[in-house]
């Protein structure tokens, strides 16, 4: 007879190798190219920013759960992802204490208050970002030119800002060191522009996104619809669709933030509508709103709708339409 008591549990008795922690680490891996590029553009400051948000996010989650005598959850690495994502969406010059405050807000208020991993209705990193944007608008809207170092006075508008201010084309091109339309797009694609720490290189962000797709961490639906509908509605509202995709954080948001499991709809139909609507809100805010960039709010606004989109389930196997009471009555007759 067996040496130790046998395990008794429900079927199935096999489990897939994909675990929560592995998924989160895959996201970190996919973010690495963009992160490294950010550090390359903005120097050690970028590194400190990442360190500050990650440390604050992880520490606050650990302490919060310790204080509440809840099982520690730092091991699942989701706080790591939130911290890293927050850093990558901040202006590189954000003071470290501010960034850390945003991370605490993200983890404690947006995530742990609602019950921790998976229970949060709003994207924690974006709540952190929106909180900072509301609290410290000046610091959160001052951008820096790559390689210039973070000097107080040397702020420079991002391409989106310039467009929002109606700057002439030449100035727009000059801001990324391009001469003509083609090289302007190319520079934007490569990432030689001012902007948030991790969003500038579309190339590297895309590479990370494709990795997530290949690993099966995310599905194509959300990124595809977000990008497609941002381009479409930008065009309908009279903006340059290609510029709309290459500027700001749309690609970054579409692959890494709109796809956040906890806050996006579970079902495929839901995901399609979710992505389309995010694109619409982004285009509207960019065109009409007070901010040059709409990704944060596009996603946060749709986070609120996501519980409703969960209802758009597939028809279950063998679905039989419920008999209407009237029909049932007649049948009874």
């Amino acid at each position: 007879m067996p040496a130790k008591p046998l395990l008794l549990s429900s079927s199935p008795h096999l489990f897939s190798a994909v675990t929560t922690r592995r998924i989160m680490l895959a996201v970190v891996l996919a973010l690495l190219p963009a992160t490294v590029f950010g550090v390359y553009l903005y120097g050690s400051r970028g590194l400190f920013l990442v360190a500050a948000t990650i440390a604050a996010a992880v520490a606050s989650e650990w302490l919060f759960r310790l204080a509440l005598k809840r099982e520690p959850s730092v091991g699942d690495c989701s706080a790591l992802v939130t911290g890293l994502l927050l850093a990558l969406t901040l202006p590189p010059s954000t003071p470290l204490w501010m960034a850390a405050l945003g991370a605490v807000m993200a983890i404690v208020v947006a995530k742990e208050f609602f019950g921790g991993l998976g229970a949060n209705p709003f994207n924690p990193a974006l709540i952190g970002r929106a909180f900072l944007l509301m609290s410290f608008p000046a610091a959160m809207t001052s951008w820096h030119r790559p390689f210039a170092g973070i000097v107080d006075a040397a702020s420079s508008a991002t391409p989106l800002n310039l467009v929002k201010q109606g700057a002439p084309l030449a100035e727009l091109f000059a801001s990324v060191g391009a001469q003509d339309q083609g090289s302007f797009y190319w520079q934007l694609f490569l990432g030689n522009r001012s902007g948030s720490l991790g969003e500038s290189s579309i190339l590297l962000v895309l590479a990370g996104g494709l990795l997530l797709l290949a690993l099966g961490v995310i599905q194509l639906w959300i990124p595809l619809t977000v990008l497609g509908s941002t381009a479409l509605f930008s065009w309908l509202l009279g903006m340059d669709p290609l510029f709309a995709l290459l500027s700001g954080g749309v690609v970054f948001g579409a692959f890494f933030m709109a796809t956040d499991y906890a806050t996006s709809p579970l079902t495929t139909k839901g995901k399609l509508i979710y992505g389309l609507a995010i694109g619409l809100v982004i285009a509207l805010i960019r065109k009409l709103g007070g901010f040059p960039e709409g990704v944060t709010y596009g996603i946060l606004v749709m986070n609120m709708i996501s519980p409703f989109l969960d209802r758009l389930r597939m028809k279950k196997y063998g679905y039989v339409a419920p008999k209407k009471p009237a029909a049932a009555k007649e049948a009874a007759k």
Binding site: R70, F113, A119, I127, A130, L284, G289, Y297, P307
Partner: protein, 191 residues
């Protein structure tokens, strides 16, 4: 254009509940279920429009010419309270179907501060009659919207291990805080 502007501002940018902190009691109380919040929302919309239609003429055609504007508060609240009563009585007797759907919300509406606030603001903003009606529709739809959104978040909260110390009303306000934060995106949508 200006009517649209009034509408969008009242609906999204200066949402009654989220940005102006009005009608909170029923907002917190009536959102445990999506259907319930929609019912309450439409009931409020209906009464608000009626209240606007009644108070605007009373103020501009009676109180103002008689120099009785200081009776505004008293008269408005009385008019709204009676209106709600009348609507309730009327529905019960003549449209029982609608009453069954909406009736339970009516008593709660008398003390809904958003309705009274709308009637005051119609006056203080100097709106014309049409503008007042549009404004009242927008405000109450804004209320409906906020209710439905919170009801949605509550679907998630219901199945989540919310820490004990924020369970109940606190987490609803935290959720409201985050909804309001997301609504921050609409700021400046219309300039």
């Amino acid at each position: 254009m200006t009517l649209l502007k009034i509408f969008v501002i009242a609906l999204l940018i200066n949402n009654v509940v989220l940005m102006r902190y009005l009608a909170l009691c029923s907002y917190i109380g009536m959102t445990s279920d999506v259907g319930q919040s929609i019912g309450m929302g439409f009931a409020v919309t209906f009464v608000t429009v009626l209240a606007t239609a009644a108070t605007w003429p009373i103020y501009n055609l009676i109180l103002l010419p008689l120099h009785l504007e200081f009776l505004k508060i008293l008269v408005f609240i009385l008019v709204i309270a009676s209106l709600v009563q009348l609507v309730e009585f009327y529905l019960k007797k003549n449209v029982p179907g609608l009453y069954a759907a909406m009736g339970i919300y009516l008593p709660l509406i008398t003390t809904n501060c958003a309705i009274l606030a709308v009637t005051f603001e119609n006056i203080s903003n100097g709106y014309s009659f049409i503008e007042s009606v549009v404004y009242s529709v927008a405000v109450s739809l804004g209320y409906l919207l906020a209710m439905v959104l919170l009801a949605g978040v509550r679907i998630r909260i219901k199945n989540s291990p919310v820490p004990k110390f924020v369970q109940g009303t606190p987490i609803l306000f935290v959720a409201t805080s985050l909804i309001a934060l997301a609504f921050g995106g609409f700021a400046g949508l219309i300039k």
